[in-house]
């Protein structure tokens, strides 16, 4: 249970090595935390994330095998984790960016991106939602992106998966309204992570820790959508209003 003062006892991260999700775990109140499951593809990145959290003093950190693209396995993975105990906060954090130019040359790469970012997220998101509704409490945090707010020449395949995921997460939040469970949609701008390494920085680029603070504040206040950083909400309103012939010519 998340207690009366907002302190959670258990967290599940889908995409266990996600820097934003790990920063979020570190930003959550820690005094009652006793079970943190980092679910992802087994390997050094996942193990390193678990070691970092444990090293930072987070109690009960463990890993679980999870492959977003293997949707047939999702039911068993999610049921296994929830059968061992209620989960207060689930962070759906996996996703791949891909290189737009390579993707255009090899559509099979686009299918991979779409499978992980959208298909996989929809599949595991529905399994998580079923379990949260069943336990009658809990939050699902979905890492969307401003890339889904408006398609850009430089990453529209990625952007389209986030647009689809964002619409899915909003609808899921409405489906769960009043169930005791809720969905928080998070729309970060560009974040300095492994995913964006080497790319030119966009306006309002932030660090994972800043996104984490926005997520924790959003959970505390019971928000359903947050931008990170917050003022991106206004920038994106403006961006969406730019006519396409002009938008196309803007630096991407």
């Amino acid at each position: 249970m998340i207690d009366a003062l907002g302190d959670p006892q258990s967290v599940l991260v889908l995409g266990g090595s996600s820097e934003i999700a790990n920063a979020t775990v570190l930003a959550l109140p820690r005094a009652r935390l006793r079970r943190v499951v980092l679910a992802g593809r087994p390997g050094p990145a996942l193990d390193a994330a678990a070691q970092r959290l444990t090293g930072a003093g987070v109690a009960g950190v463990m890993t679980a095998d999870f492959d977003a693209a293997n949707t047939a396995s999702h039911k068993q993975v999610i049921d296994g984790i929830f059968d061992a105990g209620d989960i207060d906060i689930v962070i759906l954090a996996f996703g791949v960016l891909g290189d737009q130019m390579q993707v255009e040359a090899d559509p099979a790469l686009a299918v991979e991106i779409a499978t992980v970012n959208y298909t996989g997220a929809v599949s595991v998101g529905l399994h998580v939602a079923r379990r949260l509704r069943g336990q009658g409490h809990g939050h699902l945090v979905v890492l969307s992106s401003v890339a889904g707010d408006r398609a850009r020449r430089s990453n529209y395949v990625y952007g389209s998966t986030k647009a689809g995921l964002d619409a899915f997460a909003q609808g899921l939040g409405d489906a769960l309204a009043g169930s005791g469970a809720s969905v928080l949609v998070v729309r970060p701008g560009m974040v300095r992570t492994r995913m964006s390494a080497g790319l030119p920085e966009a306006p309002m680029t932030s660090d994972p820790e800043e996104v984490a603070r926005v997520i924790v504040a959003g959970l505390r206040k019971g928000k359903h959508t947050v931008y990170a950083p917050g003022p991106l909400r206004f920038l994106m309103t403006a961006v969406k209003a730019v006519p396409r012939p002009i938008f196309r010519k803007l630096p991407q």
């Binding site: 249970m1 009366a4 109140p29 939602a129 079923r130 336990q135």
Partner: protein, 455 residues
């Protein structure tokens, strides 16, 4: 295609919270009116278990259980008074409010009443509630002669302290985790009038208040102190009393001396900005409250409602803390840890947690129930809004002091202590768990509190 969406709630589900309106969870709610209905609800229970709920006056998550079947017992509410034996036999969902309305005019009073009469008999036993007479009369469980408990496999057990002491005392204070209290028989006390003869005195600071309580509490049946949590001194008002005898009333009042009408006067508005109760408004309230009481006054006659249940006059007063809700921090420490009373008031004041209901009381001896809260010493209860920043850390610091002093927190008020705190401060938890595991081997009965604290 006939598959049913697992995301669509069924019609019998409700979002439940405790009186503090924090940490809601959704459950299937059954509303039985008799034991047959209760048995049906038990048979058709959710795989996540069952919990009986009374009037929802526990502050935290004791009477809710996410995803489970919660049995609202308030429809199972019959009771009868046997004046010859001075006992009441009541269904688990009967309220002390209804019982008082019936028995006070007939010259009887409940053995223990908390600060609200809006509690059920089942809840009173499950939380082993205490009142202003704890120093002399103990908690509610001490006055229960027998109770009928429905177990997870549908058996109806009659438990008494003589024939089944382990099961009886595991159920008293057992927070509903041993089964459903279907009915109980408890002692009531004879009274001559429906009025309370009250003596009031003010204490200039916390030391003064505590010294006055130590000196004279044992002279009275009922006693409690209100502490001005905002004033640095810790000044307070001590009120003590007993049921007024007929000869204490003026002749003109004797004809109506057993009249009892605890009418609700006002309802708190439902939309209150969460900042309304702040240190300034609480300071103003406390100043007025302190001034309202004389330095010393003896033999004032008050109604039962005014003396025991002043807040029941304001319906839904829990809304004044705004949408984020509130909690009540209540601990007990032995006399050797009396300093924790002062430290806790100071720490709460420093974090800016304005409490206008801060109550200090002395407890008498414990009863045999392993999870019963009271122990000899001091108990302090303070209401604090949940929105206060940093409250979680301050209360954890207070927990540490309470535990070091050999004290503990009250499950019926708790909404945030840790499982480790419970293990440190309720040393008989494992003993209770062994009895519970025997009574409910399939762990049918569970609550959000039980899951949170790993009871």
């Amino acid at each position: 295609m006939n598959s049913v969406s697992p995301l669509v709630p069924s019609a019998d589900e409700e979002l439940l919270t405790g009186w503090g309106r924090t940490s809601p969870s959704r459950a299937r709610v059954a509303r039985p009116v008799d034991i047959t209905d209760i048995t049906v609800a038990l048979d058709r229970r959710s795989p996540r278990g069952v919990l009986a709920r009374g009037l929802g006056r526990s502050y935290g998550d004791a009477a809710q259980s996410g995803g489970a079947t919660v049995i609202d017992m308030t429809g199972v509410k019959g009771f009868s008074l046997d004046p010859a034996t001075a006992t009441v036999r009541a269904d688990g969902g009967a309220s002390l409010d209804a019982i008082l309305r019936a028995i006070v005019p007939r010259g009887f009073f409940v053995p223990v009443t908390p600060g609200t009469r809006m509690v059920t008999v089942g809840g009173a036993i499950a939380a082993d509630i205490h009142g202003k007479n704890h120093h002399g009369s103990g908690s509610f469980g001490a006055h229960v002669r027998a109770l009928d408990l429905l177990t997870g496999d549908g058996r109806l057990l009659t438990l008494t302290p003589e024939t089944t002491p382990e099961e009886f005392w595991a159920t008293v204070g057992g927070m509903g985790l041993t089964g459903i209290i279907v009915s109980a028989t408890f002692d009531v006390i004879p009274i001559e009038t429906s009025l309370i003869s009250v003596d009031t005195e003010r204490g200039t600071d916390l030391d003064d208040v505590m010294a006055r309580m130590l000196a004279r509490d044992s002279d009275y049946r009922y006693t409690v102190a209100w502490i001005d949590s905002v004033a640095a001194s810790g000044r307070g008002v001590i009120t003590r009393g007993d049921h007024a005898r007929a000869d204490q009333l003026p002749a003109g009042k004797r004809a109506s001396m057993r009249d009892y009408d605890p009418a609700v006067r006002i309802t708190a508005p439902s939309l209150i900005p969460s900042g309304l109760l702040n240190t300034l408004t609480v300071r103003a309230f406390n100043e007025a409250w302190f001034r309202k009481h004389p330095r010393q006054r003896a033999d004032e006659v008050q109604s039962i409602a005014a003396f025991f249940h002043p807040l029941d006059g304001v319906q839904e007063w829990n809304r004044v803390y705004g949408p984020r809700g509130f909690l009540q921090y209540q601990f007990v420490v032995p006399d050797s840890g009396a300093e924790v009373v002062r430290t806790s008031l100071e720490k709460l004041a420093r974090v800016g947690a304005p409490s206008f209901l801060t109550v200090l009381k002395r407890f008498g001896p414990s009863n045999p129930a392993p999870l019963s809260f009271p122990m000899p010493g001091w108990t302090l209860a303070a209401d604090v809004p949940a929105r206060v920043e940093g409250l979680d850390r301050v209360l954890d610091e207070l927990d540490e002091l309470v535990a070091q002093a050999g004290g503990r927190l009250y499950f019926a008020k708790d909404s945030r202590q840790s499982p480790e705190m419970v293990r440190r401060t309720y040393p008989r938890l494992t003993e209770w768990q062994a009895v519970r595991n025997r009574m409910d081997p399939d762990r049918v009965f569970t609550s959000d509190l039980a899951r949170r604290l790993e009871l």
